[in-house]
Symmetry: C2
Subunit: 334 residues, 2 copies
């Protein structure tokens, strides 16, 4: 990555106004890596705009974990923001250009594009690509670049980068948590970042309607051939003030069941489609089934959408999963 | 702590057979610190027996997270084990002697006692007391002692100590997580410990009956004056194959509710008593109410037992909590 870092450094030196972008429906690492880089560049005198099509999610809007979150704009190409022009664009935590949504457009085609990301599916779409699938998070890569270039880490940058690392690893529980990453987290804390509020605010806080839906969904739990599953019809969501089932925590929780190899949640949407979320215990794979049903994902977390009534969707996914798991267990046994 | 470490070192040098003890109903830090120290002492040629009155809990019985767990005996004073005699006793993760239960007795009174612990309530009952309430875990103190004495850290010891640290901090989420602790965790990983299995096996794994009870308990959730609460009658437990409500995860989960300052779980026991578990959001205190009702605990996690029918116990605790919270909010506002 050394040559890429040097190329990035040269682009920065030649730029006057920099636009930082992250993916639609952003998570803690998208905003954390973006704002972290913004604080670092601003401290060195750069003029920087940070933008995200969907803004900062409600649960992440806190200066304790993402100082400066109010500065993320949603329309960087509007007259107000674009008047100053941009001569460098940096995409963060984004595996392909369309994932940036409306904040990227033809008006930016003249500006060199830097691609900073950790997704294994990254398409290397930038003029410079700081991409490392072995990194825990995009925030970790930003830290490594800053460290390689000898940039001072101010407390606000440290906080945003630690929030990116902690949210993407669920506090060092999943993903690529290396000994070196713990060393990075230590240095970020020493630079002024607080660890406790990140778990409290970004990982463990939910509204009571979401907790209500957990209760209803878990009360309807079923276990079949080591598949733990539940279905969430629209009526169930309405019973909890119409809350969205957008909380990956429930699937992560269910796959912790000793008696299960796979967790499955089927959610009936208002437009009649069924969202299918799957998680696999270590050693098992749900990406194959998701792919076969027109979706995608990682071996241990995948999903798809089906245009079927809830009962039929449930039967189809259960069938496919049972078949796939039988094959996987056969391969393990053989 | 320097003088205490030197005194500990002198006692070790003079000892022939060492007994390591931890508290009744042990958790990951009790067994982790105990087995970690056992691996360290054994590697240096000491003859060591590790004992716990209640043995190793089912969910922690894995060589991936606690290598050597099979070596923890439950009756160290039986003829079989005690025949060799003990000339040094080390209590781990234990704030007072009675917490050791039946594994400590008059037969051990002749042996010097070393007390290694991180609880703020520790009574300093040892001849040597390696007690630090600012430590995240007893495992962290064992590591600091080993580091100060220049002991080599073998992979098994590293794994047990990391399990102690990770379980007591819920993977660096709660308690005294300092930058230095992250450095210790990094060194333990570098010495051969694996981090991922600890969360998978000890923090996120539950049996399906426990998950069933979460569902029933959450489906009965109530919210009053920013107290989120649920009551678990015996019939509810029977509906989930009679599973015990001994899972502190549920209370931790509930206190994550944005709309609540306190979470409360009342569990009806078979003997008619009601177990009361309470959690407080940052800035609030439930220890006062627990103490007033004959229980105890920490400001943010406390409990008590009441000899009352479930409905009356619920009314009494809710009343006390509402009163206490109103006072606390008044103090905050003033």
């Amino acid at each position: 990555m050394k040559a890429e870092i040097a190329a990035f450094h040269a682009l920065l030196a030649a730029s006057r106004r920099i636009l930082l972008l992250s993916h639609v429906s952003p998570d803690g690492d998208a905003i954390g890596s973006q704002l972290g880089l913004r604080w670092l560049l601003q401290a060195m005198g750069h003029d920087v705009v940070a933008a995200n099509q969907d803004g900062v999610p409600q649960l992440l809007r806190s200066d304790q974990i993402l100082p400066g979150w109010q500065q993320v704009v949603q329309a960087p190409l509007s007259a107000k923001h674009a008047a100053g022009g941009y001569d460098l664009v940096i995409a963060l935590d984004c595996s392909d250009l369309p994932r940036l949504g409306k904040v990227y457009g033809p008006a930016l085609a003249h500006a060199p594009l830097v691609n900073i990301d950790h997704h294994i599916t990254n398409l290397h779409f930038g003029a410079v690509n700081l991409v490392d699938p072995a990194a825990s998070s995009t925030a970790e890569i930003v830290w490594r670049v800053a460290d390689a270039l000898g940039w001072p880490i101010n407390p606000q940058a440290a906080q945003c980068l630690l929030t990116g690392i902690v949210t993407d690893t669920r506090s060092f529980r999943v993903g690529h948590v290396t000994p070196a990453l713990l060393g990075v987290a230590q240095q970020l804390m020493e630079a002024g970042a607080a660890l406790a509020p990140i778990s409290e605010l970004a990982l463990e806080r939910r509204n009571v309607d979401t907790i209500c839906l957990w209760g209803q969904a878990l009360a309807a739990l079923r276990l079949e051939e080591r598949i733990i599953w539940t279905a969430i019809p629209q009526a169930m969501r309405r019973g909890c003030n119409g809350v969205e089932q957008s909380d990956s925590g429930l699937a992560n929780f269910m796959v912790g069941a000793e008696e299960a190899d796979v967790a499955l949640i089927l959610t009936e949407r208002e437009d009649g489609q069924v969202d299918v979320g799957m998680r696999a215990a270590p050693g098992f794979d749900v990406a194959q089934v998701a792919l076969a049903l027109g979706g995608g994902g990682h071996p241990r977390a995948a999903g798809c959408s089906l245009t079927l009534p809830l009962e039929q969707a449930t039967a189809q996914v259960l069938d496919a999963l049972k078949h796939s798991l039988a094959q996987q267990r056969g391969a393990l046994a053989g």
